[in-house]
Amino acid sequence: MCADLSRTPRTLLVCDRSSFLDHKNRVSSQVEQLHFIYKVSVLLPECNSASSSLDSVFNSFTSFYLIRKLPIYELLDKDFLQSAVYQGSVHGLSFRTRIDEDNCVALMPNGRLTLSLDKDSFELLGFEGKPSRFNHRSCSRFEVSVDLTDSSMAPGGRGYLRLLTGLKSHLQLQTDFLLSHHPGGGASLQALLSRYDWSEHKPKVSRRCLSNLVCPAPRSCDPHSLLEWLGAVDADVRCENSSSSFLSSFVCPEANTTLGHALSVSVSGLLLPHDVQRLIQELSSLSWSPGCP
């Protein structure tokens, strides 16, 4: 029952072929638009181990905080707004809330707070929002999106008080929350963190050395197959399609070569775009020679 990726409704796969050496490549601008990055995987062909500078980049990803049972009205706290939201880029996401079952909360770096609520919660909250339509039928999820940097949402403003009353007394929304702040780190968040049960986490880095990896020749296959193959390598799926294995029938796209060894590194957690930018810069400055150190 797996859908052909090209026929799935409402997906967009943009494939851009360029080189890091080309100054006009759009990788950086694309990465800036991604607010919540969970995982970055890098596949380095013909490499045994990462160079020390690459390793240090991987290990220096900004750490993030997990706050247990954070009442969401705390995100409207004056001190938090002054010290964190107005200053730099704060990324926040509710943890362990399923988008099709629970209420979800996201805080974007540009100061936008978005709540994705089910019908009951939305009606209780009493704030403006619009229905979130997945198909063109009855809507059962609603989205409330406010710009915290807007003048009407300044502390004391009408919209601010309305949302604060809604979150404090009508709908006491409380979730586990992941929070990450780019310049300033823990210091500016300390006031908020000290009131609740919090823990600091570093993004997890995992490395795998792969041997005898079958890979498609570059520029030989279409983007969809290349994406499928990359995903299979990252998820450690066997691509042999042997008759005795019923788990997967993935095969490597045609016109393939075999690599002696390759290195797959992935880092996961609440990653910030600026850390990913540094990684891309480090990768683009690597000099490519077979058997790189």
């Binding site: 099709d100 079952e101 009951d120 039928r137």
Partner: protein, 267 residues
């Protein structure tokens, strides 16, 4: 969209079995389950309606649902298998101890009565035998208007191939008459191995003839509707409900208002 629920886990005296069932349900992602006490009155001897055991007696620590940070919610449900009109006594006080009330009619007349008259939440469609009667639009539409849902259970289909045929046939028959509205899919599982995850049940619903969104609703929003309907059975028009104060021996009780979130379905 609401949380995933499985409203039919068969009760068994064996504590470990029930505990396994609830733990598997929590592991699969169900946030609410209901333990089903099946009551089949026979004309020969007088039987008493079973009393529900308190949940903390049966299961020590409620397991946390996988992927969320809340423990699973366990409710009590009674299913009365009716083969005669006198088997279901409306407003019987024994029924009040259960959170959900279901009925399984075996003849056409009883089905009509259950849809239009009786104060129940769920009507079970039998899946272990060929349907003894055909579904007519009139009682089904009446039931949909009242907020009563129809339940199809799938554990029998897992056990036996003949049951699988009956389950699919009966389910497709039901979907043709009710057009996919007010249907819930539940397991009726006796063992933990007979439970399946919510997304698998959604796929199964599509096999029965439900559309994508109807199928997802049958495991989430419609079940939530059933729980709300059951709560309003204890209220007056869904607005006011009474609670017995434990200290007083008399029947005097305090009135209190139900929370604003509840929407009453017309009963």
């Amino acid at each position: 969209m609401s949380v995933f629920m499985d409203l039919n886990l068969l009760f068994s005296e064996d504590r470990t079995r029930l505990q396994n069932l609830v733990e598997t349900a929590a592991h699969l992602g169900f946030s609410t389950v209901a333990v089903n006490y099946v009551f089949e009155p026979s004309a020969k001897k007088k039987q008493e309606v079973p009393a529900p055991r308190p949940i903390n007696e049966l299961i020590g620590q409620l397991p946390v649902v996988q992927g969320r940070s809340r423990p699973i919610r366990v409710l009590n449900r009674l299913t009365v298998v009716m083969s005669d009109a006198s088997h279901f006594r409306p407003n019987a006080p024994e029924y009040r101890r259960f959170d959900l009330l279901a009925v399984q009619p075996t003849t056409e007349k009883l089905f009509h009565a259950a849809c239009m008259l009786h104060d129940v939440d769920i009507i079970c469609i039998s899946v272990t035998e060929k349907l003894p009667f055909f579904f007519k639009r009139a009682p089904i539409n009446g039931a949909i208007d009242r907020g009563v849902v129809f339940e199809i259970s799938y554990a029998a289909a897992i056990r036996d191939a003949t049951m699988r045929r009956y389950t699919i046939a009966n389910a497709v028959c039901l979907m043709e008459s009710c057009k996919g509205k007010n249907v819930i899919l539940a397991s009726a599982a006796e063992k933990a191995l007979e439970l399946r995850g919510p997304y698998d049940i959604i796929n199964l619903g599509q096999l029965f003839g439900l559309s994508d969104s109807d199928s997802k609703e049958s495991v989430s929003s419609t079940c939530r509707g059933v729980l709300l309907h059951a709560e309003t059975r204890k209220t007056a028009s869904g607005v006011v409900f009474t609670m017995k104060i434990q200290q007083e021996a008399l029947q005097d009780s305090a009135d209190s208002e139900a929370p604003a979130a509840k929407r009453a379905k017309a009963t």
